[in-house]
Symmetry: C2
Subunit: 432 residues, 2 copies
């Protein structure tokens, strides 16, 4: 079994005591075996003297294949945005999805993400790119009512088939990606919940991103979306709701008492100017597990958890007129252990602890923006001063995927060139 | 005269037509001589094939020497913040200021800033670091009433002496740094204005950052701060107001009709949760020139204009519930030509045009987060997808200061180590 030794790092463990240690981490196979002072060598030794070592970041809401579409619908009203994105997106070919996924995966690796949640159709194509990338994907096949979909066949059947085919694949975890109450009937939600209960598959869905969808739903059903989902019995600890921006306190409580997780997407919400700000302080009080999502590249334009940690803290402080809301340590918690819990992997990822999977990110301790680097301010520097230029080396499942800022798993130049061809083709077809 | 040729870049010119060109830029001495296809060589040739070339970014509000204090007062109520920062800051020695300035300058270079505005005491020490760094500083010596200062002597006299000693220094532009209406009497403002009128020196001041300072001032004088400053005749095109967050429309108009500039500091305002959001749309309509400032490291924690461009756009969109507010091109305008105008250098910096100073930044066209890189989405990618990991090479005043991510002007490791010693000493003295 291959061993990997990381020497002399500032280890931000994210263990229960949130310890910051100075020392070594020994990995055997894909598992963290020792933390502290490790004598002797290993098959591979990485000198991380003075660097920061953190758990791989977990991005809990994305549409990774849309990365080639960044910039196509910025700074426009929301209806125009939807129209433009759907026009391009519905015309995509397998090759476009494949190259989009590869490009997005490279972006995530370079900014320290080792696990992400995706919601899209054609997750089988994305799964291939994930396997190749070396990082983890929780891939939630898009499920919606038959009359709204461009998928061939029944979406939930497609989702089940994807689950069947990929459930044993390394680093790929198939999930269910419910588009939202506006295109998913109660029956669709309930059938998905049956499948989730039986298999343990994550139920990932959009929830109350815009004010319009909330009030449309209320006009139609008499209930707000989260109350409604509770009333039909589909909320559980297997649920991960993206956005959750337009919630009442009663809906927050409903999510909390059913053990649900939320993926808050600050950049996406701000950029689309949908008005809602996820009520994180109330979620914390009411036992909702919170994690962070970048959302796809048409609404955020970067899949950069380093940037989004800071953005989230700033948005919450600004919105509440309270600088004590969401301190740096808590932001980092959401991006690591909160994310791990959201995808049902709290026992295996999200912190640097013996027995956990070796998903690790090394940040350059020689970067001026991270210095002075003292234990008292290390987490603060990571969240408020750090950026993805600091990401030097990324390890996932015990294997190095980015070494000294070079991606080892893809031919980067080839992906970059092909991404340009893909978007050009899409734009031309879009005009035709 | 030394010549420098940048080959085959995507040139975001920021000229009046906002042209994006593919081609070369020839620099002779410190001046841009040709843009387009340049035959022949030069003393130094930089291959920028497929890279992005932008004007150096201009950060119009900073306290650069505070960079060693990052993380010392995060996530605390505003009064606690002030108390903690002042306790440490008032005890600083020349060496601490010097090393803080060097560290902050390195942070700025690495994130593409070539000109910054500083407001602090001891600008003579900071000037030395600026000269060494290779970038430009508009250094505004802190001026406030005698009873509020820890400076030896009369602050305005110190400011004048600094101006006298440094006005002919390359890349250093001395200015007047008025702390704010809460510690500067009408006489102090008016004497500063006399000096500014005579010398052309920039009048840089904090304006209406917090709600409290606005209402305290109104209780004391019957007028809001900007109205008051207009009434005593000190507003002019030589004024640069930082923050300007808590303004009425009448105050915006006062700034506009007097030709003032504003430095909006989104991250600082959000992190301190001071509640105000600078009314940028109204400023644009009323002829106020707007630029972007990071503010110092205790309130932002990074001096990263690449990050703050995006943050500003998101804040404005989110606050106004309108995604069309502040599109990407306009954000870039604020960070370049808006900044140049704010410091009275619109004729010499802020865009890539023949005859202007060669302040240039090369961004890595091989970065996945910037791709696909098409002219139609290039500015959008820069603002919404870019980050400082993309900054490869920085040129200021015709000289390379960062080459392939290596700073040429400082011994980086030495500065980093000394920054650690400095903050340790300050914290120990603070405890004593």
């Amino acid at each position: 079994m291959k061993s990997l030794l990381i020497k002399d790092a500032n280890i931000i463990t994210q263990n229960e005591q949130r310890e910051i240690l100075r020392g070594d981490v020994l990995v055997e196979g894909n598992i963290i075996k020792r933390i502290g002072t490790v004598q002797g060598g290993a098959d591979e030794v990485i000198d991380a003297k003075g660097d920061m070592l953190i758990p791989g970041l977990i991005n809990t809401h994305n549409h990774v294949a849309m990365s080639i579409m960044k910039g196509v619908a910025d700074d426009v009203p929301f209806p125009t945005f939807l129209e433009r994105v759907f026009a391009i997106d519905s015309d995509r070919k397998d090759e476009d999805i494949s190259i989009g996924a590869q490009l997005g995966l490279m972006e995530m690796v370079r900014s320290g993400t080792t696990t992400f949640v995706d919601l899209y159709y054609a997750e089988d194509i994305i799964a291939k790119a994930v396997v190749e990338s070396g990082i983890r994907g929780v891939l939630c096949w898009a499920v919606l009512d038959q009359q709204y979909t461009t998928q061939e066949g029944v979406p939930l059947d497609n989702c089940k088939r994807f689950h069947q085919d990929h459930r044993d694949e390394a680093r790929v975890t198939p999930g269910i990606g419910l588009q939202g109450v506006y295109v998913c009937s109660d029956e669709t939600f309930q059938e998905a919940e049956d499948f989730s209960k039986r298999t343990g598959a994550l139920m990932h869905f959009h929830l109350s991103e815009t004010r319009k969808e909330v009030y449309d739903h209320k006009a139609r059903t008499g209930m707000r979306p989260a109350e409604h989902l509770e009333s039909i019995g589909v909320l559980s600890e297997r649920c991960l709701a993206a956005h959750a921006a337009w919630l009442t306190i009663n809906e927050v409580k409903a999510l909390g008492r059913n053990g649900c997780s939320v993926s808050t997407c600050p950049v996406s919400n701000m950029k689309l100017a949908t008005g809602g700000v996820a009520p994180l302080p109330e979620m914390f009080v009411n036992g909702v597990n919170v994690s962070i999502g970048t959302d796809g590249s048409t609404t955020n334009n970067s899949m950069d958890m380093m940037a989004d940690m800071k953005m989230l803290a700033l948005l919450q402080k600004c919105y509440r007129w309270d600088p004590t809301v969401l301190p740096a340590q808590q932001v980092l918690d959401l991006a690591t252990i909160g994310g791990a819990k959201a995808v049902g992997m709290a026992d295996s990822i999200g912190s640097i602890e013996i027995g956990k999977k070796a998903d690790l990110v090394i940040l350059d301790g020689k970067a001026p923006n991270l210095r002075p680097l003292r234990p008292a301010t290390m987490v603060s520097n990571l969240v408020y001063s750090g950026n993805s230029s600091n990401i030097k080396t990324v390890i996932c499942d015990g294997a190095v995927v980015l070494r000294d800022r070079k991606i080892l798993t893809f031919d980067e130049n080839e992906v970059l060139d092909r991404s340009e061809d893909a978007i050009r083709g899409l734009m031309e077809r879009g005009r035709a």
